[in-house]
Symmetry: C2
Subunit: 633 residues, 2 copies
């Protein structure tokens, strides 16, 4: 064994010789950033050897470092193996930082019909006149107190074994917990005396970056607390592809336990805030994308990342929470949302449940945008879905000053049509550091309306304004001058940034149109467009229409449902009828593989204009642009 | 630690100082006879200290030994604690001997509809045109091969996790095993290639003395082998009361594992005989009395041995076989028969299933006799049951030369009405050692018909015949002279023996009449009487009627069903519809507590005559006795 000491925290860990520094750091509890999943590709897991010997191939990985850095002992943690006792400096930039976390409530009025209920009963002790078995006596008592029919309830062996002692020790005054599971009503546990007011449930949005937990009091039907946590799997790879690759290298067990641990931490934090005992949580409902839920269940996701993109299971699953390491009541259950396909996961089914589109006569369009996007079109009779890569632009990636929705990000912006000066607001109100997704949509629409760019996205460099200039490669528009920023340089958007943004929005729009054609539906027949996800939450609906991110409908008919995944999980937690419908919803949804649809590419080309080549699809935008043009002239 | 060496086997075991010799012997694998369950009451666990020091209270337990025995180091294993290294002689009489074991087949023609079936499928690998999930692909394949509807099947987590690798490694040629369990059709496991011919199931009669296992091929519907084992719990107490007392002294875990171990040994032996792999056994069906099945499940039986005699559970149970240590396929299921009450257990429900009385319009009477007896009366509409202590006489206990059905037991006997000489046959045809239950019934009837005894059971000592004589206390009849026996002394039956036998038979008869009165049924309405259990199997039906063990009906209408427990378990194993009916049967049966019925004592008194005080209840017997009397005179 060799001892590795990590600085500046002085965490120590004993490992076998040959262990990678990444493994050692993770075992020591450090959340090292590994975007590529530990494949030596991303160069994010930089550490510095202070003393001791490691094996690291400078020839192969030297490109990630300057000579000065190499001199200081820099190496990649994932590609260095422990050879002797070590002191390793881990710079802060190598550790994962917690992100701003968005939590959402439940807007709909949902019938409160939880799947778990407790019944306090005072039983007659057995007598020669009534020597019925303990279990029958208990279940009849529960039935008489308003519970399910005794014959439909059953007790698993572990509870059955406890029944006789608990009944007698409590002098026949007990509280039974009954949960509705596939197969009937299960006696989840039996407690002495009256504990019937202590039944809680957790609804979980298992995101690849963030985990959100809503803790519900299943007696009062109220949310008692909300907590969030970052997904600790991020230490095994930032994106899903990297994590699946990590899983393929014998990492599935680790990813499984990290997912469970991340959920547990959030549940613990929510329980502590609410002052409740985790043993009183009898049910956990999880909505997540298909790869995430496979990993949480410890099911190999390997076949989902390459053609033909095959998940192992899509239906809803109920498992004992303890089986996968979720710490709630030992007999508590875990419910996992079903999926449609590899790409349309339980998070999207949760969105659908949250917006209610599967219950309506009218046709709705659901759009969930992140690095990937998912689109669902339909009503109570039929649904079509598709998914694709939006590219990182809409989330601030591949844009020079793009950034995530962190403090200092410009999130709203307008441009004076005469002076071309912008007015913006930032997250937390501090000096700007960059611009995030919602700000970029605003910017694109405002630049178009003020004629700084044309409908192809080209900047009109003939305009005589200091904010419009040309840098080494591309024309650009200055959003904020260096002196007003937090970063000491001008924040700009370049023509190249705009091109990337247009490509992203074109994918989403083309996907919408492809589904509409598949279903034979025109934009006039769409009653509502729902935006789900963090991106949609801060989006200006009108600007999203102006740039042609989505088909044009009445602006008031565009709605943000926020974190639809957790909202749907909430509904499934508190309403057992809703939960029963989920598999039906999932099976009803047809999945359209965009790569297999030749029409998608045609639609995409048309969509790479602002808002589109065919303006007749955007009559409101057409009118608006007309008036802007006239005003400008 | 002290080393205890047991002679003559030289088994050694290291134990803590203070351990009882009984514990040490059991841990060393010796099956010590403990009728009382280790309470120092029965004096059966005699051992001799050869060297070393034990702590044993001669004052308190000396009464079990002669002075000579004490001098030789005799002590009770259950009441002696190890103080130093020891050499202990264990006489053969202290060890439990295996008994003659009776195995029964299945006489009825039962529809072959097992609950478990394997399906071999060759699946199309996934493609972009059909990227359905692995589970759906597999279940659709199984459905297409004649399996259940895909939506009704489900896979537990442990199988789900194995699916992707097995499908791909086998190149999509797999065999799925589907079991019908409460809650749906469960995918019990998935194997590579075609193993569809290898599905087996075990039906188990879990008796307190003997365990019988039938191993079935669930593809061909044939029994492939039969095995039996004694119930190893006997080392913790011979009778059920002793075992429950053992359980109360923290012994439940041990009794649970001994029950499982006894079943496992029988299953192993049956599997080895048939040359099959235990992993191919997917289902085990167990019928046993209520205390035995509680113990097998590890559920506390303590409340069943005292008023008001309350079991924990009576309904049928399905549990994972592995959960209670039964070694078959790791995902195999265990089905336990339901019970009616403490005293009418799953073994009796199995009897009812085996004789089919719950399916018939006609009224039947079922009688199962051992140390205890159980009686069930009814038809497809209604059933009444009761149970009681028959006393040991009918099994050869409390009778001077009574013995169990072991080699040398007189099992059949007739008496020449003129010479009064008997003709008998013994088990295995060797010289007689004693007389077992069926022989005693014959003897009683023959003595009555030859007027050696009168209807009260008194021996007519005025008959001048060398076989009729008076010993120190009672008149007696000589069955076999010393020279013809294996034991070197006259085998006789005394008037006291006859009194004990009459008391036993009177209990059974009075129980039958009590149920008939409860149901308002006369003997004319009873179409069939079924005898279940080993006792009934060798019984002469006519003689049983003559002595008034059962109500008189046509002799041809009395049937032996043999080991009804295993026959019923066989039916439930191979016919899933039969299994589904069991809870209904159990719930339909009313249990009559004889001690609470004042009429029972009246019936008992009337029944203490041969056949009864009221001869009009036995017209055939009355006629017979009349003709015997005339012939004798």
């Amino acid at each position: 064994m060799r001892t590795v000491t990590f600085l500046p925290s002085y965490r120590k860990i004993d490992v076998e010789r040959g262990t990678t520094l990444l493994d050692a750091a993770q075992r020591a509890g450090l959340n090292v950033n590994v975007v590529c999943g530990g494949q030596g590709k991303c160069g994010k897991c930089v550490v510095y050897i202070q003393s001791g010997r490691v094996d690291f191939d400078k020839q192969k990985y030297g490109r990630f470092f300057t000579d000065a850095e190499l001199q200081k002992g820099a190496c990649l943690a994932c590609e260095s193996t422990v050879q002797g006792d070590l002191h390793i400096l881990v710079p802060e930039s190598t550790l994962i930082q917690e992100q701003k976390i968005l939590v959402e409530g439940l807007d709909q009025a949902i019938d409160f019909r939880p799947s778990v209920r407790k019944y306090y009963v005072e039983l007659q002790p057995p007598s020669l006149a009534d020597p019925s078995p303990d279990l029958s006596r208990l279940l009849w008592g529960i039935q008489k107190s308003g519970g399910p029919v005794a014959e439909k309830m059953y007790a698993p062996l572990e509870v059955l074994r406890e029944i006789p002692a608990i009944l007698r020790h409590s002098e026949w005054k007990v509280t039974g917990t009954i949960g509705l599971v596939p197969g009937g009503y299960r006696l989840l546990d039996l407690q002495e005396n009256d504990t019937s007011k202590r039944v809680f449930g957790a609804a979980v949005d298992l995101g690849s970056t963030t985990i959100v937990v809503y803790l519900w009091d299943l007696v009062t039907g109220k949310v008692v607390s909300v907590a969030s946590n970052y997904n600790k799997q991020i230490s095994c790879g930032e994106d899903i592809l990297a994590r699946v690759n990590f899983a393929r290298k014998n990492g599935l067990t680790k990813l499984q336990s990290l997912a469970a641990e991340s959920i547990n931490q959030a549940i613990t934090s929510a329980s502590n805030t609410a002052g409740i005992d985790r043993e009183d949580i009898y049910e956990v409902v999880v909505a997540g994308n298909t790869v995430m839920t496979h990993m949480l269940l410890g099911i190999d996701p390997a076949y989902m990342i390459a053609e033909p993109y095959v998940p192992v299971v899509r239906r809803a699953l109920s498992v004992a929470a303890g089986r996968i390491g979720i710490t709630c009541n030992p007999n508590g259950g875990l419910f996992i949302f079903p999926a449609v396909s590899d790409f349309i996961g339980g998070d999207i089914i949760a969105d659908i449940l949250a917006c209610g589109m599967s219950e309506k006569e009218e046709i709705s369009l659901l759009v969930d945008i992140g690095t990937n996007f998912e689109v669902v079109l339909g009503n109570k009779e039929w649904m079509f879905s598709c998914a694709g890569a939006a590219g990182p632009a809409l989330e601030g990636g591949e844009v020079l000053f793009g950034m995530r929705a962190n403090p200092g990000a410009i999130e709203e912006i307008t441009i004076d049509p005469v002076t071309l000066n912008p007015k913006y607001s930032t997250i937390n109100g501090i000096r700007p550091r960059g611009i995030c997704g919602s700000g970029l949509i605003d910017l694109l629409a405002e630049l178009l309306c003020s004629c700084v760019i044309d409908r192809t996205g080209r900047i009109n460099t003939e305009i005589n304004n200091p904010r419009i200039r040309k840098n080494a490669h591309f024309p650009e528009y200055v959003i904020a001058w260096a002196k007003e920023t937090d970063i000491g340089k001008d924040i700009v958007i370049t023509e190249n940034d705009i091109k990337n943004l247009i490509m992203s929005k074109a994918s989403v729009h083309a996907a919408c149109i492809t589904l509409m054609k598949e279903a034979g539906v025109t934009r006039h027949e769409i009653t509502t467009i729902y935006f789900a996800g963090a991106f949609g939450n801060y989006l200006d609906k009108k600007n999203a229409t102006i740039i042609g991110l989505i088909p044009e409908i009445e602006i008031e008919q565009i709605k943000n449902i926020g974190n639809g995944a957790v909202a749907g999980a909430n509904i499934a937690l508190i309403n057992r009828r809703a939960r029963k419908k989920l598999d039906d919803i999932a099976y009803k949804i047809a999945y359209i593989e965009l790569n297999a649809e030749s029409s998608f590419m045609d639609e995409y080309t048309g969509s790479t204009f602002l808002p589109h080549t065919d303006l007749s699809l955007f009559p409101m935008v057409q009118k608006l642009l007309e008036s802007c043009r006239i005003r400008r002239e």
